[in-house]
Symmetry: C2
Subunit: 474 residues, 2 copies
C-alpha cells in the first residue's frame, strides 16, 4: 500500500509522538517502570514521554513468532512468520439467531457459541463469543472460563479486567494443562486483547493487563481503538502513526516488565463514518489501514493481528462483502491472527449464529485459496487431455471418478443450484441455510475429552474462588 520510505516516515512520526507528546498512563507502577528505563514522566498529568532508544531496545526483545498451547496440545497454534490462525468473535453483549431472535447474552448462549467454536475446524482459537450477562459480575470470569476450558480444548481467552481476574483465569488455564501457574508461564497458552483509549491513553485495566500478562509470559494483542476523524486526525497516515505509537508504548512496557514477553501488533484502525459518528468496520479505508498495518508489523518484526470486521447489522449482501473484504485484506496484509473470524454483526455488539456459519465459509474458502496449487506432470495431465481430445468431456476419466469428492473446495454455504432447482428446494437465502447448519452442529457436537481429575480441579478452583467472593468490582 505504501513505499518502504513511507513506512519509515510513519515509524518516525510514531517515535516523535512518543517522545514529544507522550502517552497518558493511568497506573503509577507502569509510569515508574518507564521512568526507571529513562522515560520522562510528568506525574501532574500522568504523561510518559518515551525516547526512541528505549523503544528500539524493546523491539529487539519482542519475539516475532510464538506458539500458543491449550490443554489439548494438538490444538496448539503458531503466531508469526507465514502462519495464519483464527479466533472466534469476542465481546458482544448480545446474540441472535433466526429461530430465537435477538437477546442479551446468557451463560447458556455462551455455552452454545463455545460449542460452535469447538465444532468448526476453521475457528482455531476461542474468542469470547457472547458476554454471559446472567452471571454475577464478580463470578462471571470464573463461570465463563470454566465453560471455555471444558466445552472447548482450543486456546482460551482472558479479559484484562483486573489483576485478580487475570490471575484467576490464568490459574484455571494452568490447571487445565495440569500445571502450576509458574509452569504455565513458561509456555504461552492463553491470550488477551488490549484496546488502548486512543488518542494516546492507557487506562488502568489495560495497563495492568499489559504488565500482568507479560509477567506470566502470555501474549497480549495491542490493538489501538483508532477511528480516524474521531480519535485521530482525519487521515490514514496520522491514524497509522498513532496506531504505531500506541502499540510501541505497550510493546515497550511489556518488554520492560519481562524481556521476551510475547506481543502482537494489533491493527483495527478504521475511519469514522461522518454520517453516523460510528466506526466504519470492514469498509474501504479500513482495508487500507490493514494493509499498512501489515507493513508496519513486518517493519517491527511483530506478528500481526487483524479481524473479520463488518458494519452490517444482519448477515446480508453488505455483511458478505464487508467480511470477505476484511478477510482478504487481512490475508494480503500478512496477518498472523484473524480475530472475530466468525460471528460478528452490528459492529461487534452482537453475535449471530448464522453469521458464525457464514463466516466459516468465508474463512475456509480463503484457507483453500492459500493452499498451494501443484503443477507437475501428473496434474498437467497431458495424456488425459489427449485421450479425451477436442470436444470431449472429463466426467468419466479415471482421475475425475477417483477425486470427485475432494478435487475442489466443497462449499459449506454457497450453492450452484440453478434458479429452478433452488426455488423448488425452498428458495432459501444463505443466512437461512446457515440456520440448519448451526443447529446440526449443536446436535452433533461432542465435548472434548478432559480427564476427571482435571475437571474436578477446575470445578474446585471455581467453587473455592466463589466462596471467597470472586472478584468484586473495583
Amino acid at each position: 500500500m505504501i513505499s518502504d520510505d513511507e513506512v519509515e516516515r510513519i515509524h518516525f512520526a510514531a517515535l516523535r509522538i512518543l517522545e514529544t507528546i507522550g502517552v497518558r498512563c493511568a497506573v503509577k507502577e507502569a509510569r515508574d517502570i518507564f521512568a526507571d528505563a529513562g522515560a520522562i514522566v510528568d506525574e501532574t498529568e500522568n504523561r510518559v514521554r518515551v525516547g526512541r532508544d528505549i523503544v528500539e531496545a524493546a523491539l529487539q526483545t519482542a519475539p516475532s513468532e510464538l506458539t500458543l498451547t491449550p490443554r489439548n496440545g494438538a490444538r496448539a497454534v503458531k503466531l508469526g512468520g507465514d502462519w495464519l490462525t483464527t479466533a472466534a468473535v469476542l465481546g458482544p453483549p448480545a446474540c441472535t439467531d433466526l429461530i430465537r431472535g435477538r437477546r442479551s447474552g446468557t451463560l447458556a448462549d455462551l455455552a452454545e457459541l463455545l460449542k460452535l467454536t469447538q465444532f468448526f475446524n476453521i475457528v482455531q482459537m476461542n474468542g469470547w463469543p457472547v458476554e454471559p450477562l446472567d452471571c454475577e459480575v464478580r463470578f462471571r470470569h470464573l463461570d465463563a472460563a470454566l465453560a471455555m476450558l471444558t466445552l472447548t480444548d482450543k486456546v482460551p481467552y482472558v479479559f484484562c479486567q483486573s489483576r485478580q481476574r487475570i490471575e484467576d483465569v490464568l490459574r484455571l488455564c494452568a490447571i487445565a494443562r495440569g500445571e502450576t501457574l509458574e509452569q504455565f508461564g513458561q509456555r504461552p497458552g492463553v491470550f488477551s486483547i488490549i484496546n488502548t483509549n486512543t488518542p494516546l491513553q492507557y487506562d488502568v485495566p489495560m495497563t495492568i493487563g499489559v504488565m500482568d500478562m507479560a509477567r506470566h509470559g502470555q501474549p497480549t494483542l495491542l490493538t489501538p481503538f483508532v477511528i480516524a476523524g474521531a480519535s485521530t486526525p482525519a487521515t490514514i497516515a496520522s491514524a497509522m502513526a498513532i496506531t504505531c505509537a500506541e502499540v510501541l508504548f505497550g510493546v515497550t512496557l511489556a518488554q520492560l516488565v519481562r524481556p521476551g514477553a510475547p506481543i502482537l501488533f494489533g491493527c483495527a484502525s478504521k475511519n469514522v463514518d461522518m454520517r453516523t459518528g460510528s466506526p466504519a468496520y470492514g469498509l474501504a479505508d479500513m482495508m487500507k489501514c490493514t494493509l499498512i498495518g501489515g507493513q508496519m508489523a513486518r517493519r517491527y518484526g511483530l506478528p500481526l493481528r487483524s479481524s473479520n470486521f463488518s458494519a452490517s447489522n444482519i448477515p446480508d449482501f453488505a455483511s458478505g462483502y464487508e467480511s470477505a473484504n476484511a478477510v482478504s485484506s487481512a490475508v494480503s496484509a500478512g496477518a498472523n491472527l484473524l480475530m472475530h473470524v466468525a460471528g460478528w454483526v452490528e459492529g461487534g455488539l452482537c453475535s449471530s449464529y448464522e453469521k458464525f456459519v457464514l463466516d466459516c465459509e468465508v474463512a475456509q474458502s480463503m484457507a483453500h485459496v492459500l493452499e498451494p496449487v501443484i503443477v507437475d506432470d501428473d496434474t498437467l495431465a497431458l495424456d488425459e487431455i489427449a485421450e479425451v481430445g477436442p470436444g470431449g468431456h472429463f466426467f468419466g476419466t479415471a482421475r475425475t471418478i477417483a477425486t470427485v469428492e475432494d478435487a475442489f473446495y466443497r462449499p459449506l454455504i454457497s450453492i450452484t443450484q440453478n434458479y429452478g432447482a433452488w426455488m423448488e428446494a425452498g428458495g432459501r437465502s444463505a443466512a437461512e441455510r446457515a440456520t440448519g447448519i448451526w443447529q446440526e452442529a449443536l446436535r452433533t457436537y461432542t465435548e472434548p475429552s478432559l480427564d476427571p481429575a482435571t475437571a474436578e480441579a477446575l470445578a474446585a478452583f471455581v467453587a473455592r474462588r466463589k466462596e471467597q467472593g470472586g472478584a468484586p468490582i473495583d
Copy 2:
C-alpha cells in the same frame, strides 16, 4: 500463486497441447490461414496442430496495451499495464428486481439496465445487461446496438454471432463516432467476448468473430469456457494449461489475420461443482485460477480480463462474499478489465437490478482501496495530534471540519447505523436499500448528448437494414 518455473511449465504444456493434440476449428477459412502459416491441419477432423514458433511469433505482435474509444472521447478506457477498467454484466436472458420480480428480458428492460450502466461511474464500459427477447432475432442486434449507442456514450459491446451481425454493429459504432468503417478500424471502439468450446474447440461464430474483429482492428476477449473436472481434467494445473492453449490459438489466429490486432487474455476458468454439475462461479478454486491467469497473462504480455462472478441466485450474504472475492482476486491478479462488474446473479442467467447497485459498491470500494495513501508532513499531522493531546478528540479540528465530507470512502450501500437506529429506519437489508437507489438512478438519469445528424444516421441505418431483412438465422 505459483512460481515462475511453474508458469513456464503451464506454458510449455499449452504449447505441447497445441502441437500434439491441436484444436478442432470449424471454419475452413481459419484452418487455411493456419495451414499457410505452417500449422499441420487434419481436414478429416478439422484439427489444427500449431507449432510453438508460430505461437511465439504471434505473441510478438499482440499488443500489451490498447485504448478503447467510444463516441464520447471522454469515456475512452485503457486496457493493459496498471490500468483496470470495468464493464457491466453481459448476456443474461432474464432480469429481476425486488419490485417487479423475475422475468424474461425485453427491450424495455435492456433500456433500463443501459441507463444504469450510463448512470454509475464505476461501470466504465457497456456489457449486454439483458437479452431483449421480445425483439425478433434477425433484428435484435440492430435494436440492442441502437439502444446501447443512444442511451449510453460508453464503449459498446458486440456479440460475435455471425459475420453479418458483427458488420452491422461495427457500422453502427462507426456512425456513432462519425466515421466510416475503415476509419473506425484504425482506432478500437467496441469489444467482444469469444468463449471457446472447451476442450480445444473453436466453433463457427467464435472463429468468425476472432477473424472479423481482428480484421476490423477491434479487440476480442478470448475467454475459454473452462470448467475443471468437466471440460478439463479435475486439476487447476491442467485447467490453466488448456486455458492458455485455447487463448494462444485465438491470439495466433488474430495475429495471422492482422498483426497487431488487439486481444485480451480472458480467464474465467473455474471448477465444476461435483454435486450439481454446475460451474462454481466465484468460489475458492476460481480465485486460484484467476491468480494464475494473471501470471500467465503477464508472461504473454497480454491484458487480462477477469470477472465479478458469483454463484448465488439472489443478492444475499453468499452473493456478497462471492462477488467481493471475485473482485479482490481479479485485482490481486492484475486484471485490466473486470467484466460483469455489476448485476450478475444466477451464474449469469439473470441480471438483478439490486445486484447492479450492490456490485457498484463492491467495485468502487475496491477502486478507493487502490487510490494511494498520502504520507507526508501534512497528513501525518503531528501538530494537530499534539494540539489535541492524549484523551482528546478530533471532531472539532480544522482539518476534520474542512474534510468531513470527503476524507474517507462514502459508502453507497453499507451503513454504520446501530441496530436500534437501523430498526427504527425500517430494518432493511442491503438488497432492499439497493432498490431505492436504482429507482432514483432511473429517475435522475439523463440521456448523453448526441448530435441530431448522428442520431438520424444511426436510426436510418437500422431502418435500412431492417428493410433488407436484418440478419436472418444462419
